[in-house]
């Protein structure tokens, strides 16, 4: 599987993601400059974390207009794989490739910490190595991760099994407390109807080596590699 990690001027997890894909997992991986117009033949586009354009207006609001985003959209429309992590998720929402929007965390503070995630849909290219209900320990680091969807689209998301990851406790239980940022339905990761575009707030690239305290993030990348 060939991966392409998009570099916006304010991306800051681009190299972390590249490192995991290339050096830890040994995959063919390229960096894709946001001003370019080609995807260099990658199978999976990764939109990494960071602050694509400073994000002073709204996270991901301006990145959405980057030249490369047209190619990313076409890639997604062709059924190509796209993974948005953190800011990448926010960009996917702004692009309309995933439904909903992000609000400030409910406590109005940036949150950097490990969280537990329950895999609610293992039948996706991003989670196929997981069991239903499996709990992953992966860190978050964001200010705007409070997912919002209007009630009608929420019902549809549930019905179509599009909520892939939810904030839970270490036993997979959902409590108010574990939903640290206040997301609707504790959404931590979401997939498109067609199942090829996923956005997630937690950072799997920060949990792909045991030296960093967890290897659970590899499950996401390794699932993709098996796709």
């Amino acid at each position: 599987m060939k991966f392409g990690v998009v570099v916006f001027p304010g991306s800051n997890c681009d190299h972390d993601t590249y490192y995991v894909l290339k050096d830890v997992l040994g995959q063919e991986t390229v960096l894709l400059w946001h001003k370019d117009h080609e995807l260099k033949g990658v199978d999976c586009v990764v939109l990494p974390g960071g602050f694509s354009y400073g994000d002073y207006l709204r996270s991901g609001a301006i990145a959405r207009f980057s030249p490369l985003m047209r190619e990313v959209r076409e890639h997604a429309e062709r059924g190509g794989l796209v993974l948005g992590i953190c800011n990448g998720f926010q960009v996917l929402l702004e692009l309309g490739l995933l439904p909903g929007a992000m609000l400030r965390n409910k406590n109005l503070k940036f949150l950097c910490q490990f969280v537990h995630l329950r895999v609610d849909n293992p039948a996706t290219p991003f989670t196929r190595l997981a069991r239903r209900g499996q709990v992953l320990r992966i860190p978050i680091a964001h200010f705007d991760g409070n997912y919002f969807a209007p009630p009608e689209s929420l019902a549809e998301l549930e019905e179509q099994d599009q909520i892939v990851l939810r904030y839970a406790d270490e036993n997979g239980e959902l409590t108010g407390e574990t939903n640290v940022n206040g997301s609707t339905a504790a959404v931590a990761g979401l997939i498109s109807r067609r199942g090829n575009v996923m956005g997630m707030m937690p950072h799997p690239e920060r949990a792909s080596e045991s030296a960093l305290g967890s290897g659970d993030g590899r499950l996401i990348f390794e699932s993709l590699i098996r796709s």
Partner: protein, 734 residues
């Protein structure tokens, strides 16, 4: 005409003015006066501190760059070096906590990446007034949010730091930010303006009327009127800085430039004089070419502006096109504004006229140096006299109270707001004794810590200074790191007060002696004077930043107990030393006595022992004793353990129980070891002539401490956890 009022507005004395006139051979014009005022300010010239700073040891075989550049550089082997420095942003953070702290982060980051290094970690040392006051809470809230906003968005992890609370910081909070960078030794850059004829380029944000006289503000005392002295605050643009960082590192990586310096405090003035002064050249620039954000700016304003996110670059003519291309890729302009000259002056033109023409050497190097009078404070004697109150009956609740004292309590409320994991190198997260970073592709790692106990310094500045170094190094020893170099931020009151000058001199002596004993060079630092509000000085507050090297990260241990049944061992001896302790302060409301003494040789032996034991893989955990003494240390070892493991400790000693528990005797470390490794550990200790004592075992779910078989403390770890974890969030939830 320059009259006394103008001079005093510029914080210059009549003698200084005379000296300026003599140096340039005529009366300066107002713009030139502004240049001198800025560069001869305390903040830029170190005129009151230089004479004393020279006492600090600055050399060593790993030192690539000592004091005198934007940051110090230490060789870490394998062709790599670390670049680090600490800076204060105290005054701006009082006026506008969010932006003041944010731009402090921006400034220290530029100091690091101007040297060609990629910033890999930030740490922050913060001091606030008590959280009962809404104003103090607002300051803390703003400062933490500001650091978080800048550091997080630029993508440099904030991996550690310290937070202290004391009344003296109520009207004068301290915000010291440290940055660590990593560089290939062949890719280091300096602030040089070599090669007459080479173009001088301006890059980054446009110049506005920001912070004019920020440096002089940092060199004057605060009073009521400062409430109005307010345009001096800048707004940070971390996104612009991120672009600048990437573009600068790219042109440096490609070897396209000759020299580079950031424009922070003292802006264009500082960079256009310091760079040539270091190279024996001059610079000539045309202000009409400087990108400006506002209309109608005067030369005075342009030269003195402290707009953030700007850099000055000197490049060979042949590379200018390529340099501009790289900046354009990052959506930045690189604008030629002048050139390097053989004539050693700063010459500035504006609308066809020469508005500045002064020798750079006069501006940068010839500021008068003062040896201000120093006098031991008369009040010190009574402060050092302590009559101990009798020990409280219920010592468990004292432990609980200390765990919830904001200075000791969990700081997660703070560091959860910092992205401490970006760059994926943080192997020991905030909360431990030192932050530990891996270096991708190598076995070794780096450890960093900030430390300084101001209460000790107020009671005995020399001892306090030595302890600051000792404790910072002890923090490193607890993760198995060898200290390589030190940077320091010296936060003091008004140096024109003889008592403050005495404190300063004494602290430096303490620092110097400790650095010599530990054989660690001081590679730079920062002095922040005039931390007074309405005549009240802060405690003398030196903050030490120490960087250490760990050979093999696989051997790393943390502070928390890891399992049941391990043997708990105390390195070092305990003496009845309650003076200056957090216990006396928080429980008895006493800030008195002599701080604990320190025997630097013994300290070093304890640290060596800890490092060696870690290197041999003998330890399961290691945590140093500091504020709160043994009881708090043991409590923290339980709290840091992921499984909430308790412990039972036994002592047979006749010392008063509160001294046993809370004495802050130096040179002590509490470790846990597997029983089978105990003999070897004792062997190592004997070789080093260091007392070690088995004091108990890990296990259970409570912290239990007994003296002569009598139980004096019993607390469920969960209860401790609740008190320790919630203290700061609770203060903010009112």
């Amino acid at each position: 005409m320059i009259d006394p009022k103008v001079l005093s507005d510029h914080n210059l004395t009549a003698e200084e003015y005379e000296k300026i006139t003599a140096l340039i051979g005529r009366e300066p014009n107002l713009t030139e006066l502004g240049i001198f005022s800025l560069m001869w300010s305390e903040h830029c010239s170190y005129k009151s501190s230089k004479a004393f700073l020279s006492r600090l040891p600055t050399s060593g075989k790993r030192v690539i760059q000592g004091p005198g550049e934007n940051a110090g550089i230490i060789d870490i082997g394998d062709g790599q070096a670390v670049v680090f420095k600490i800076e204060s942003h105290n005054h701006p953070s009082l006026i506008e906590p969010f932006q003041g702290a944010a731009t402090g982060v921006g400034g220290i980051l530029r100091d690091i990446f101007t040297m060609g290094a990629r910033p890999i970690a930030l740490l922050d040392s913060l001091r606030f007034g008590p959280l009962e006051s809404p104003k103090n809470r607002a300051i803390m809230d703003g400062v933490v949010a500001g650091i978080s906003s800048y550091g997080n968005s630029i993508g440099v992890p904030t991996v550690g730091g310290e937070v202290y609370f004391h009344e003296v910081y109520s009207r004068n909070p301290l915000v010291n930010v440290f940055c660590l960078g990593l560089v290939e030794k062949t890719k280091i850059f300096f602030a040089r303006a070599e090669g007459p004829g080479n173009p001088v380029l301006y890059v980054g944000s446009k110049t506005g009327r920001d912070g004019i006289h920020g440096a002089t503000m940092a060199s004057a005392e605060f009073g009521q009127e400062t409430e109005h002295k307010r345009p001096n605050v800048q707004v940070g643009d971390p996104f612009k800085e991120k672009l600048l960082l990437e573009a600068c590192l790219e042109v440096m990586e490609k070897g396209l430039i000759v020299g580079i310096q950031d424009m922070g405090a003292a802006g264009l003035t500082c960079s256009t004089t310091e760079m040539p002064a270091k190279s024996g050249t001059g610079i000539s620039i045309n202000l009409d070419l400087v990108p400006q954000r506002e209309d109608g700016m005067t030369p005075y304003e342009i030269m003195l502006s402290e707009s953030q996110e700007r850099m000055l670059i000197v490049a060979g003519k042949e590379n200018v096109a390529e340099v501009r291309k790289i900046f354009a890729k990052w959506d930045l302009d690189a604008v030629p504004i002048g050139e390097v000259t053989a004539r050693k002056n700063l010459k500035v033109s504006f609308r066809g006229e020469t508005v500045i023409d002064v020798p750079v050497d006069a501006v940068v190097n010839l500021c008068p140096v003062y040896r201000r009078p120093a006098r031991k404070p008369a009040s010190l004697r009574s402060a050092q006299t302590l009559t101990l109150p009798s020990p409280p009956k219920d010592l468990s609740s004292v432990v609980l109270k200390l765990a919830a004292s904001p200075t000791i309590a969990d700081k997660e409320w703070v560091f959860r707001q910092y992205d401490h994991m970006v760059q994926t190198n943080t192997v020991l997260l905030p909360g431990a004794d030192a932050a530990v970073l891996r270096i991708k592709g190598r076995k070794k790692g780096l450890a960093v810590t900030l430390d300084g106990n101001a209460l000790y310094c107020s009671l005995d500045p020399r001892t306090g200074g030595a302890i600051a170094v000792a404790e910072a190094c002890r923090n490193l020893a607890c993760v198995g790191a060898v200290p390589l170099g030190v940077t320091n931020c010296l936060n003091f009151g008004n140096p024109e007060k003889p008592e403050v000058m005495w404190q300063f001199k004494e602290v430096i002596e303490g620092l110097a002696e400790a650095c010599r004993t530990f054989e660690i060079p001081v590679t730079g630092g920062n002095v922040s004077f005039y931390n007074d509000t309405e005549g009240l000085s802060i405690h003398p507050t030196p903050v030490l930043g120490v960087v250490g090297l760990i050979d093999d990260l696989a051997k790393l241990v943390g502070p928390g107990f890891r399992e049941e049944g391990a043997v708990v061992v105390l390195f070092g001896e305990t003496i009845e030393e309650l003076g200056g302790s957090e216990y006396l302060r928080a429980v008895h409301g006493l800030e008195k006595g002599r701080p604990p003494g320190i025997d630097l040789k013994k300290e070093r032996a304890v640290q060596d022992l800890c490092r060696e034991a870690i290197r041999e893989g003998l330890l399961r955990s290691a945590h140093d004793l500091s504020e709160g003494g043994l009881a708090v240390c043991a409590a923290e070892c339980c709290l840091f353990g992921s499984s909430g493991t308790g412990c039972v400790l036994d002592f047979d000693d006749e010392m008063r129980p509160d001294a046993w528990l809370f004495s802050e005797t130096q040179s002590r470390i509490l470790v846990s070891v597997a029983g089978r490794d105990l003999p070897r550990l004792k062997e190592l200790a004997e070789e080093r002539n260091t007392p070690v004592k088995t004091v108990g075992r890990t296990g259970g779910t409570e912290l239990i401490i007994r003296q002569n078989e009598r139980e004096i403390v019993r607390l469920p770890v969960e209860t401790l956890h609740e008190a320790w974890k919630k203290a700061i969030p609770r203060a903010f939830s009112v």
